[in-house]
Symmetry: C2
Subunit: 306 residues, 2 copies
């Protein structure tokens, strides 16, 4: 049981991870789920399935805006449903986890290749918040010999923009960094802008708060804005709206606010498809109307239904 308590702590650490993108958090969830399988292999099969379902439900509800965490958990739970021994559950579950990890990595590579043509040589490129997909696309372009500079902003309150700036700089890309209110000042000098997405559905793309202002200014200034995201981000409208549940304590924003001041700490917001120039996925540039095709035969495990 000691090991399982540690896993509960791991769920809590994923809940408090506000600087990673959705794909990165899904990779962390894979480690948690592999840990559950390894630590619970001696449980009877039904108890093992219940334990897995319980951890999956906890992971999905602690990061309700992160579609890849939902897809990962759903795939694992559906995969182990058909098998009956604990050994098989561990085997099938582990394969499902590593398949998903493989998909995420291949998908990021394909997207990086597809994004290459939109990264102009010698220009300033804007990147918002922290998306491992955007980071890998920019590093890939640099490794292909493209020279460009990246502009990014802090992304209050979690400041994951500093993480992006540091990793880009480590990767040999020159970075210009400023605070979020200077978004329009720096965007006006950029040739193109990129963002990731945490979850995508018919109403639009949900991403870190600040993505709507980014889209709005890009639209006004005529700067193309692309979202780079794998199709594992596609979910139903009902699942998409779960992102609104992600509210953090106001004290993280202002811990000594006067009593008459209510402090809001909302982390995600919706950007309609009409506000971006394109969504670049591993399957190419996709539209709002393509989403249904990906969801057509999707089964959702009962532990994860909204």
């Amino acid at each position: 049981m000691q090991q399982l308590q540690d896993l509960d702590e791991l769920v809590a650490s994923i809940k408090d991870d506000l600087t990673s993108g959705a794909a990165e958090i899904a990779l962390r969830a894979i480690v948690v789920l592999q840990g559950v399988l390894d630590a619970s292999a001696n449980l009877p099969p039904e108890r093992l399935k219940d334990k897995l379902a319980e951890v999956c439900a906890a992971l999905v509800s602690c990061q309700p805006a992160m579609a890849p965490v939902f897809q990962l958990c759903n795939k694992v739970l559906l995969a182990v449903r058909a098998v009956n021994s604990s050994v098989e559950i561990v085997e099938v579950g582990s394969k499902s986890l590593s398949d998903f990890e493989g998909h995420l990595c291949t998908s990021a590579e394909t997207i990086a290749n597809r994004a290459l043509e939109y990264i102009p040589y010698g220009e300033l490129v804007f990147a918002y918040s922290f998306s491992s997909t955007v980071l890998s696309a920019l590093l890939h372009a640099r490794s292909c010999g493209k020279v460009f500079r990246v502009v990014c902003t802090e992304s209050r309150p979690s400041m994951e923009g500093r993480k992006l700036a540091t990793l880009l700089s480590d990767g040999g890309i020159e970075v210009v960094h400023t605070f979020d209110t200077a978004l329009a000042l720096v965007l006006s000098e950029c040739a193109v802008a990129f963002m990731g997405a945490d979850v995508i559905g018919k109403p639009g793309l949900v991403n870190k708060v600040g993505s709507y202002p980014l889209a709005c200014i890009c639209k006004e200034l005529g700067i193309p804005l692309f979202s780079l995201a794998g199709t594992e981000k596609f979910v139903t409208e009902e699942r998409l709206m779960e992102f609104e549940k992600h509210e953090r304590p106001g004290a993280e924003v202002w811990d000594e606010a006067p009593p008459g001041v209510q402090v809001l700490n909302l982390q995600f917001e919706l950007v309609p498809f009409s506000m971006i120039s394109g969504l670049i996925t591993e399957d190419g540039m996709l539209q709002q109307s393509d989403i249904d095709r990906y969801l057509a035969n999707q089964q959702v495990h009962e532990a994860l239904r909204v």
Copy 2:
């Protein structure tokens, strides 16, 4: 000389004041200039005029985006030009200072009265950055019995939004506060938005960085945005563009940035007239085309020419 050195320190403290609006900084400049007149009354007239011109030039160049500081200094220098004794310089200069202070106060009162009809009963009202003119208009509306809530954001990097939140709350107004990237999320709930302005000219209004994103989102969401500002903010295009000189050290934004990351710290930006719904001054709602009329006969003292 001891007293004059203290005044130099006062100039430095005005340079580092990043949380006050333009009218408020002009009031602080009045204190500095009165100090110069009082401390230098024993100087020969020409040296007293030179001293005054030197301090005025230092004040204007330390806050190049603050039109009222320029207007104040220009008025004082032009007023003392015609008199020849040190006693008269102190007398005429002091009168000029107190006249300007009186104008600022009357102007803020008139603007508060004019703004009243744009503050809707029972609604959420957005206010950006810190403008003493906007603050006084909101407090005035509250004292007239209007009940409404104000939403404001931090306004990184100087966080003067917290100062606004605190003063509104002290004045009995309920406040909702959040970080700057959540601007669109909160604006979508607001009926109207207000900002101040530090300097206004034919190209537009210069205000704290973040004002352009505010205007852009208000335009997209169809929320009226008014700038409240006295006509002492009106300047020539050449003077207006001086605001671009106000650059602060990058270390104030990120003191441990990696070597490959260039950190920008620009404090002001331009918002074209076409991006706001109206400019409310002490002389009523004015247009871009009205500016020339105010500048027609304006003389600029040689110590303050661009």
